[in-house]
Symmetry: C2
Subunit: 333 residues, 2 copies
């Protein structure tokens, strides 16, 4: 990634515009992930926090609050809250998925153990909760507690749905709303609530985050089949090898003839895979055009995200959020 090119990416323009606030968020995160008694906690948290995710979710909160004219101090707390919830979820996800890599580094469950990942995740979740209580805003607490429940419910649903050929697009959407969109939408929504915006504006912010999150996750799932390993750090076909049913496969299963259905049943439902299966899966998806159809869905959700912001008056931050929606789908062909 050259610096010139990097400067044009919307999430980097957002980061530049929100630089002072993001510095405050990072300081608050560092302060709150400390533990006087249990040094294992900051070790494990720092491993993940320092790995340099894009901090997309806290940026959404900051951008939303600023775009809505908020001038108080609590958008910093809420942004840190959102990042803590996200980090806690990642720690638990890596245990559940038995992952060995995250953001190009060994996962915490590999470097320490599953126990540490479970318990430090719990700690960060509790800390997120303390941070939001400090805002003293009950509506914000309501939104974030509901989002937390939706996230956990989506993760449990994914456990049973991911290898079940009966999983249709409706169930997929529920899982995606849980695992990704619920935190995106809550991150946007609380920015508007803390700024005292009208219900219409708050609803628009929610809708933007919801649609952006869905688009983001669909693209992630598509990248697993169409990605450039060097750019994404993921190997093509990881989801297939872990026999995870994502949108491109769900669309292919819906169009499958009997032979094709047997193929999906063997490779995904039963998880019995052989040499050449990934290539066959790609060929089947291609023959039904499901990769293109999946990308079209992602574009439609990104368009929906942009349209949601129509009630919000023009500003530099709003333009960046509009560009961000385009960028999310531009990551994949």
């Amino acid at each position: 990634m050259g610096l010139d090119n990097a400067a044009t990416k919307p999430h980097e323009r957002l980061a530049a515009a929100l630089d002072a606030d993001m510095t405050a968020v990072n300081e608050l995160i560092r302060e709150r992930m400390a533990s006087e008694h249990a040094p294992r906690i900051p070790e494990v948290s720092a491993h993940l926090v320092d790995a340099g995710g894009k901090r997309l979710r806290p940026m959404l909160t900051l951008a939303s609050a600023k775009m809505c004219g908020y001038e108080g101090p609590f958008h910093i707390h809420l942004a840190a809250t959102v990042e803590f919830i996200h980090t806690a979820t990642l720690l638990h996800d890596d245990v559940v998925d038995e992952s060995g890599q995250r953001r190009g580094r060994p996962t915490a469950n590999l470097l320490w153990d599953n126990k540490s990942s479970v318990l430090v995740g719990d700690y960060l979740f509790a800390r997120s909760f303390q941070l939001m209580v400090e805002t003293g805003n009950l509506r914000v607490l309501d939104i974030l507690s509901n989002a937390s429940a939706t996230i956990a419910e989506g993760e449990v649903l994914q456990l049973t749905a991911a290898s079940d050929l009966g999983t249709d697009e409706e169930i997929y959407l529920k899982v995606v709303r849980g695992k990704t969109a619920a935190l995106f939408s809550a991150a946007m929504e609380v920015g508007g609530v803390i700024a005292g915006q009208s219900d219409d504006v708050v609803k628009a912010l929610f809708a933007y985050g919801d649609a952006l999150g869905i688009s983001f996750q669909i693209v992630d799932d598509l990248l697993d089949y169409r990605g450039n390993t060097q750019a994404t750090g993921k190997n093509v076909g990881d989801d297939f090898r872990e026999h995870k049913l994502t949108l491109p496969v769900i669309k292919a299963v819906a169009k499958a003839d009997t032979t094709e259905r047997d193929f999906w049943h063997r490779t995904i439902a039963k998880g019995d895979q052989r040499d050449g299966d990934l290539e066959e899966a790609l060929r089947l998806m291609d023959s039904h055009g499901t990769l293109d159809a999946t990308r079209a869905d992602a574009v439609a959700w990104a368009d929906k995200a942009k349209a949601s912001l129509s009630v919000i008056e023009q500003s530099e931050l709003k333009d960046m959020l509009l560009d961000l929606a385009d960028y999310v789908v531009a990551r994949v062909r």
Copy 2:
């Protein structure tokens, strides 16, 4: 357990006195552990919730609120909150401890898998959080979010402290406050807060819960060496075999000569155990009187719990709470 004898136990008298409220709590628990989308959630939760724990923690909240003259509806929410936090902790504990049994039944991680236990625990934790937000009381939210952080911190501390011979009584107390007393004290405290009691009363309720929780955990740790397997459902020496450093051993290590220190180093710190080691451990603890000394500590904490309630005016519920403190230590000789 005969019914005659059962009727005299203070937690059963509390259950009888709080019967209508406990029914409401159980209904709320059942309602909130449901999930429209993920049937795995109520399956796993019900396995644990139906196993029939004593519901001690929610009873403390109900007793505290009632004793303080509370007449609103939110003590039910808070009691359910406390039980959800407890249940979530148990689900994660069983994963961390790799346990196979809990309350005389196979654990959820064994019946389903670790994934389900981690994620359903997260779901219950999020649900607990929704429940307390519904009370609309920010002070209650502050208390319970702080308790959640203390619990998680204590669990992480225990990970590293449990097999470290350098763990002294001060560190043990921190672990015990985290794993047990933090929820007991918060359960009592929120009952007083919701009833609008003065700071003095709220402090007294906190102090009772804190000391009761510490006494309760010390007795649990002592029962591991002095318990009656039939009565407790635990095998004598489980903690020793899992090389967990608890108070009786910490006291024995503090009095150990060089040979004895080598013994503890091999069996606990290194976890290298042979036939006859448990008997030798019991002999060493006996020779230094550390089992008696441990019981004396439990009695002292129970006395402290009772003394804490002196600022509260006499009532039937108060008498039951006083008796409960005595009963906690009466469980072990």
